[in-house]
Symmetry: C2
Subunit: 137 residues, 2 copies
């Protein structure tokens, strides 16, 4: 049976990256390992690992992306919770069998080979949940 292995990251949607970093990095003292543009998501993302997990600060870089619209509607704050699984296909099949509404019924594959899929907040109690499986190397 597929299992959830960890909280891979918590994504925080931000409107001002420097102001956000002044809290998460400078005041809290978290280390930022990377700050990069993600053209596919039309966003700039800061990565701040915490133990075996990560806080990701996500700033929309266009005004018409899904992220930008979410930010405009709901304001900054926690956006989604990403859980690492050891078998994303099996997990998606298990969720579907239990009637869970999926945004991605089959996993998407990132450039680096990682697989991910989103679960609809309607089935989770209002939380946008991402499933993530590391690339098999």
């Amino acid at each position: 049976m597929p299992a959830i292995k960890s909280i891979h990251h918590v994504a925080v949607l931000v409107d001002d990256m420097q102001k956000s970093l002044s809290f998460w990095r400078d005041a809290l003292g978290l280390q930022m390992t990377d700050l990069r543009d993600n053209p596919a998501e039309q966003a700039q993302i800061a990565f701040l690992p915490v133990a075996g997990s990560e806080i990701e600060l996500v700033r929309p870089t266009s005004e018409d992306s899904g992220l930008a619209k979410y930010l405009a509607k709901r304001g900054p704050g926690m956006h989604h919770l990403c859980l690492e699984t050891d078998d994303i296909e099996a997990m998606l099949a298990q969720l579907k069998a239990q009637g869970v509404r999926l945004i991605n019924e089959t996993p998407r594959t990132g450039e680096d080979g990682r697989k991910y899929a989103f679960i609809h907040p309607e089935s989770t109690g209002g939380v946008l949940v991402e499933l993530y499986q590391f690339a098999v190397v």
Copy 2:
């Protein structure tokens, strides 16, 4: 210097505990280690550990608590992010020195000796952040 050691938990505000458990416990397969009433918070809380972290499902048990009002206003979803620190007093002093707005300027102490304090979302980019220090035994 005080440090953040882990994401202690992600708190999810729910309006229907059984429906939420049917997703997080039954469909995802997370283990629920406890389900108990927290009279101080006027809430019922389900604890679902994930690796060194935890997902907590929080259901308000009264209609006039802060949690109940938040739920009525914003709907169910992620409520706060709790970070474990090794020295909460020093961390609060560090944050205050950097101009971060604190909800609790001195830590509160739970019945079991743990210390906690909340940081205002205004200073974090919209995230209600809890700091947590395990009880020293």
